[in-house]
């Protein structure tokens, strides 16, 4: 089952830490958002392989927007 990882806050993508095909564990950061001078990681909710990355660095994302899709 594919699972969409959503941003839990509004912010600017500071860093994309995962790559398509990466195996991530639950709790691993997949991207890092920057909001109000704070760096906030968005973490994988479960283990899986990264199927798709929907954002790039510097892009603004809204709370609830899908940033990464796991296989």
């Amino acid at each position: 089952m594919a699972e969409e990882i959503k941003a839990h806050i509004t912010g600017v993508v500071f860093q994309v830490t995962a790559k398509v095909g990466d195996k991530v564990a639950a709790g691993d950061p997949v991207i890092v958002l920057e909001s109000m001078k704070m760096e906030i990681p968005v973490e994988a909710p479960r283990a899986g392989a990264v199927k798709e990355i929907r954002v790039r660095e510097g892009q603004t994302v809204q709370e609830g927007e899908t940033v990464v899709v796991l296989e």
């Binding site: 806050i9 912010g11 109000m36």
Partner: protein, 448 residues
Amino acid sequence: MFRTVLVANRGEIARRIVRGCRALGLRTVAVYSEADRDAPHVKDADHAVLLGPAPARESYLSVERILAAARESGAEAVHPGYGFLSESWRFAEACARAGLTFIGPSAEAIRAMGDKPEARRRMAAAGVPIVPGSPEPVADAASAERVAGGLGYPVILKAAAGGGGIGMAKVASADELAGAFATATRRAQSAFGSGQVYVERYLEAPRHVEVQVFGDTKGTVVHLHDRECSIQRRHQKLVEESPAPNLDARIRRGLTEAAVAGARAIGYVNAGTLEFLVDAQGGFYFLEMNTRLQVEHPVTEEITGLDLVAAQLRVAAGEPLPFTQETIEPRGAAVEVRVYAEDPARNFLPSPGTITRLALPGGEGIRLESGVVEGSVVSVHYDALLFKLIARGADRAQAIERLARALDTCVVEGVKTTLPLLRTITAHADFRRGRVHTQMVEQGAFHG
């Protein structure tokens, strides 16, 4: 005295500085990013210059664009406020090269105090107590263990190039040291590009007490008493007050004398703050020096009746300090709280958005410093501080009572704020008794 001042900042502090300039009859120039076109600080100033896009790197942090704005607006002086470029010695130097007066200390003082190991060395040489520890970074786990053995456990490992708590590790005993040293070195390397760490004695639940100092170009240095800023989260202050409560007169005197000695030793000019940690035994230790106006300067203004921004402008223009040590007399007490667009229920996650409703209090002894109005958009690009609420009283109890009442009438809708936590803190028995320390928020003292 210069006639036109460019305020290289935004939000509440830009507005405060514009007011300070007005008090001296000076013309003001605001700068702003595309995200801040409708911001209150832009409307307050006599003239405003667009710097560039919303990201701070392309606007408020762009030295080139700020200098160009000063040129085109005919500004002769630049006030950096706090944050952004205020502690950049390169910016101070660039202002001087461009023929502009930088309203703050010398580039050399900013550089020296910004380099934390050098600041410690310079202050120790001036006789200011520093936290006992290794004077230089330690080479390996074995030397860290030797230093720690001499200091006594617990100790803390700190990144030499670091800040913000990154790379810090508390070590409770000798057998934990080698592992903690390896981790701290690795984290420091990846965060700051330097794996150097030093060892310090770990202070258990210390208080944060700081001293406002002020120097002029004639070599006079005075202090404007102390401020208690222990209630913090993530090393950022939430509540500040002056004078610090329950502080032994001997410690208070020791702090102000050390602060003046430290500032004098580096030939400090303009407003600055020496921050100290105070432990339960009454020992106090230099933490760092902020070479700028502080966010919490209003509590000092409220108890001294002085205008720190106006004094900054006068001193930057080469005038002597407008006050002497003998005439600076603290009266009553003042407490400030910072209202941030953050959600205390979600571990202080930022809460950007549009302020759909804003009702701010007033009344006897209440001062408000706000960067926002109803309808303001709180952007992801900048610091989350919305406004500060300051209450003054004949004594601490009255100041807190006024503050608590003012907090009760505050309404902010559209974004989450620290208001609920601030209400809990001001009602809390330990806070009311003045029994505070720096780890209270993290330890959950104000939960429920």
